[in-house]
Amino acid sequence: MKKRLLALMLAAVMVLSAFTGCKKADQPSGDNGGSTTTQAPSNNGGSTTTQAPDNTTPGEVSEVIILYPGEETDAMSNFINNQLNPRLAEEVGINVKLIYKGWDVYWDQKAVLLNAMEPIDLYWDGLPDLASMVNNQHCQDIGQLIKDNCPDMLKVFPESQLAGGVVNGIQYGIPSAYAPSSCMFQLVCVRQDILEGVGMTEIKTADDLKEFAKRAADQYPEMNGPADIIFKPLTRNFADEQYTWCALGDAIVYGEETHKAYCYFETEAFKKVAKFNQSMYADGLYRDELTTNYNERDSRMQQGTYLWVEGSLGKENEIIASVRSQDPDARLKSYLLNPTADKYVTACGGEVLCVPYSAKNPAGAMKFLNWLYKSQENYLFCLYGPEGENYTVQDGRIVLNDPGFEGYFYEWMFRNANYTMFTSDVTDDFIKMYESWDDGAKTSDVIAFHFNNENVREIETAINEVVNQRFTPIECGFVDFDSSYDAAIQELKNAGIDQYVAEVQKQLDEFFAVNGHQH
């Protein structure tokens, strides 16, 4: 019967519209007639936002929406709703709301949300990717916003740190991890307990590592050998000059002394690294997964059955908890290969915070950061909560009530050397080393250089293919160097590496013409 069908469809429509009505009330749009963002359709890179001075009417609270990687926990949402937001509302007139996206989908989701012009006010990404974010028009000019809203933050962020977020003369992001960082990724974090167990005391060269692995294979058969082929520390070991990676992932390096860009895979250092790794495989010291599952090196190390992994300053503190949960006797220590060579500060940290064009409350986002960095008390509050609740401060150290406490906002994302307070399980020796770590370190010429790949995008894709398929196995030492190298280089040339390197060199020359050399 028609009537019956109509009745059915009507019912369905009513049910469905009932659900559509269930959606949350629209978020307060976040600004009170103050700052406005204009989405200028054809304005790429120029200043497209007009910011008014802060004129929040007292009592009105604007919302700041932050896109955040990871998984929401009850603890974190309680902290934000019950402890952080009340304080922020009172002191700065804002409330933060975090939108969580899991790590696996974070970049895809960020692209989708930004492309759909979702009102995100602040998000995180890796600093090396800043140039492509600018090309994708995912971040806007925040230079003026910072000047207007972040007087306190600027006190703990030196100009040199902020320069890391400048592309083509415009401040697109805030490099938020400010800490001693020379020799990034050039350290080898080893199982000190096993090192001592085989009768060695320290690691200085690649041969030391090989010796360590050999002895460990004999005396500790339940260990699985190294977790990582550590090509960056090994490059430091074998190269005559400091090579700083500056473009195309792992493919293009800048020679700090020769002042030129090279394809990493054409350097002599690479050949030595590859041959060293090959000898490790030949001696049965490396396992297959170092090549087949290269990206999982940190997870391997955290399983507690591997000997060493590449790292930066403080690596041992970051993973010791996970390692100890699998092997309670573990001790970790980091070593620098080729320790007498120069130390270089190569980047302004690894993290950057940006504001997209679709942000409705960019000033609010800046105010949040400013508040976070206003004082050590605020900083620790955001990272660990109010003092006394989850931790106490004793002798300038943080003593966690529950050692498994994960903290609130990520420490690695907001780390600031002016405010860092170590937990009680960090040794005094380490702190001494940490504080003097950058002493005598040179600043890399390319510390604030961001390569713009707009003209060479397809070449970049082709090169990445060749690197992933041909050079990763060679670099890991899995395939025979002599028989595979020349063919692989030829493929690289076919993909257009020479043109790419020339483009990098050209942009470097332009960069140095404006900024000069650091040393």
Binding site: E72, W103, S299, Q303, I319
Partner: protein, 306 residues
Amino acid sequence: MDLNENKKRNRIHSSFEDKIVKGFAIVFISVIAIACFYPLLMVLSVSLSDNAVVTKKGFSAIPQAFTLDTYRYLFSRSGDRIARSYIVTIAITVIGTLGAMLVTSMISFALSIKDLKYRNAISFICNFTIIFSAGLIPWFIVCNNYYHLRDTYAALILPSMFSVWSMFLLRTYFSSVPISLYESAKLDGASWYQIWWKISLPLNKTAMLTVGMIYALGYWNEWWNSLMFIDDHRKYPLQYILYNVMSNVKAISSGKVPPGAAANIKLPSETMKMAVTIITIGPIIFLYPFIQKYFVDGIMTGAVKE
């Protein structure tokens, strides 16, 4: 007498071949069932094992160093969310499946009538959407900015409410009903709606149940739409919460995570991954034996009455 002997010989002959067929069937089914069950046993046993032992010794079908710690940790960390998400999932599964079956059975029925002149054209229009899709960004912009599905329960139900694949399947099932049944009803003055509701649906119980199960499983496993549209954690369905636990694993192995963050990501242990899987399957295992009898009774049901 020759005829009888022939028949006897045939019967003996056929019972031998019958035995081969039956034997093959038993062996084949058993092998496949074991091949499907053994990994599940591994998953269960790993979820009940101690993670350190599992990393060292690999998976096995028997729990090593039996412990309930993984489940305890999972529930203590996300217990509330998991409980609430069960409710959300059950609700969207029930409502979604009912709605979907309504919409789908109508069009499948219509397209199963061979007299319908434009059925092939409509089928093509449907099939086209399986092959062509606009891609993620346009779809998201339309759903988010035009339909305002953001953070609504409708976002969990509507986009999946019609599956062309299920529609074609149901259409095929409906087609096996002889048209004569409909014709006689039409002669009696019934409208197509009545034929659909009173004749076709009851006759095709198994088919409806099968396609209903397909939709129900789809809604039960729903996480994609929650990922795209839902921010409010009270609206998360079960699968999305569990998916998030696993998400760190894929992130690390894909190499996308910058090294600074990578070292700080807490990786779910092997045992955690398996525990999450068991929680996913759990309710289905309890439910399935109840609806199973409809499928097992196979060929005997749905007999067409002439």
